[in-house]
Amino acid sequence: MRNVLPVLTVLLVIVGIWYAAAIWMNSAWTIDRADGPLTFSEIVSDTMSQDRPRLPAPHQVWAEFQKTVFDTKVTSKRSLVFHGWITLSSTLAGFALGTVTGILMAVGIVYSRPVSMSLMPWAIISQTIPIVALAPMIIVVLASLGVDGRAVPKAIISAYLCYFPVLVGMVKGLKSPDAMQLDLMKTWSATGWQSFWRLRFPSSVPYLFTSLKVGIAAALVGTIVGELPTGAVRGLGARILIGDQFGNPMMIWSALIAAAVLAGVLVTVVSVMQTVAMKRMGFAR
């Protein structure tokens, strides 16, 4: 709680800088249009209410956000809730796919040396390939294979971004029981299956949740990247794209705010799940 005051102060400063930047960046257009010289207050009031500002002021973005989130019917194509839902569903699908892939690969890497030696370097290299380079192609290829819609390609892209943190965290977590604990399982003549479910998996759960927090944020980035360059018409990324094509900055900014809210909600949900699971499993002290 002691962080509330500093955080609020910093937020206020950011909003202040934003307003100042809006006045500065939009004033050129105001002065261009004016017939005679303008007073400072005239310039300021005009920069706050342009239709197509270079940088919309915070209250303009908020008004657009409110209009498209609260005052528009959820089923309408103008509603950000509708677009947010499209993005959210792809994100969750990609997150699930990426998490399962990451966990399975981690189990393979921990239990089999050939798998570990051949997969791990390639997993690292796979992350240095900018996924956006693959995004347009994945969509074209899936379309020519007869997969309709954009949900599947978007989920694949977000899974690609999200599996790696899970893989790294799970490898660390599954290896975290020390030799003493593993030996104890052996003295109980536990089978490999038993020592996995009773020892290795439970000890990896704290690592898993830490990676899941990174993973869900990465999955959202993946989905939005999947929507950006591909001519999608639905989803938050598509709103950004359409806002850019139609020169509507308010649309871009409100979609960005919506994406930020979505990211915040998703990370919070995973943290709450983490707290609950840690308590139930007896990790919390």
Partner: protein, 281 residues
């Protein structure tokens, strides 16, 4: 059909050799550590080639590695121009500006605990946001050439870098700081001799994360407008005319650029943080 069968023979042989090497006594030595992933990679490429030709997969879906290689060899000058435009002009310049700005900001914040407590939660939050979304806005502000790409990269790498550096600067024990005090070291002395070196593993972690972000930022920004060269520009136009061999050649360039970039930073890290446990094994 024979090619498909051959593909599975290659698979079995590759797996067999890899398993043999991994089980042999020398599996921890350097040659084995390089050989196994290389064999795996060659096996995947060979199976890809054999299956694509064997099953007559259309070039529009998945070109064979040999086709991609010949396209790559044919258009090296185009690829080199795209690499210069996107990776060097857009990516690296933005990376350098963004990372140094973030380290400078972290050092400034470090002197004011109030700012630290205020900025760190926000920085953590922003680092999790899909910042690539601002690409169209920045392209609108800075024009189509590389400056706007560098701007996107600056914004993308800034927050992960800031959070890592601030965390790193806090990573000294009270005992170590007290020792510096007993030496009557001033702020700058204890910063340069103790806290910055101690922060290096964190700073390099941020630098490594940022290499990938830099390439992603530079490529995405080109989808929103670019001069008629650049990796993002080439990919989006070639996908449009179904020239997938060229797209794969561009992806190869991106993969090589990304790996080399990451490898360089990792190499510098090894030199700078040679004392850290993670570098010693």
């Amino acid at each position: 059909m024979e090619l498909v069968i051959l593909a599975f023979v290659v698979w079995a042989a590759g797996t067999f050799v890899a398993v043999q090497i991994a089980r042999s006594p020398g599996h921890d030595a350097m040659p084995a550590r390089i050989a196994v992933p290389v064999i795996f990679g060659i096996m995947v490429l060979a199976m890809w080639e054999l299956l694509v030709t064997g099953l007559n997969v259309s070039q529009v879906i998945l070109p064979a590695p040999s086709v991609i290689a010949s396209t790559f060899a044919r258009s090296t000058s185009t690829l080199w121009g795209d690499f210069l435009q996107t990776a060097l002009k857009g990516g690296v310049s933005g990376y350098l500006i963004g990372c140094s700005a973030a380290v400078a900001a972290a050092l400034a914040i470090d002197r004011v605990p109030f700012l630290q407590r205020g900025l760190l939660p926000i920085g953590n939050f922003v680092a999790a946001l899909p910042i690539v979304g601002i690409a169209p806005i920045l392209v609108g502000w800075f024009g189509f050439d590389w400056q706007s790409k560098a701007a996107v990269v600056v914004v993308m790498v800034f927050f992960p870098m800031l959070v890592n550096t601030v965390q790193g600067l806090a990573d000294t024990t009270a005992m170590q700081r007290d020792l510096m005090k007993t030496y009557s070291a001033g702020y700058w002395q204890s910063l340069l001799k103790l806290r910055l070196p101690a922060a290096m593993p964190f700073i390099f972690n941020g630098l490594k994360i940022s290499t990938t972000l830099a390439l992603i930022g530079a490529i995405v920004a080109e989808y929103f407008g670019s001069p008629t060269r650049g990796m993002g520009f080439r990919i989006s136009t070639e996908v449009g005319r179904l020239g997938l061999d060229m797209v794969w050649a561009e992806i190869t360039v991106a993969a090589i650029a990304g790996s080399v970039f990451y490898g360089l930073v990792a190499l510098i890290e090894r030199g700078v943080t040679f004392w850290h446990p993670s570098q010693r094994s």
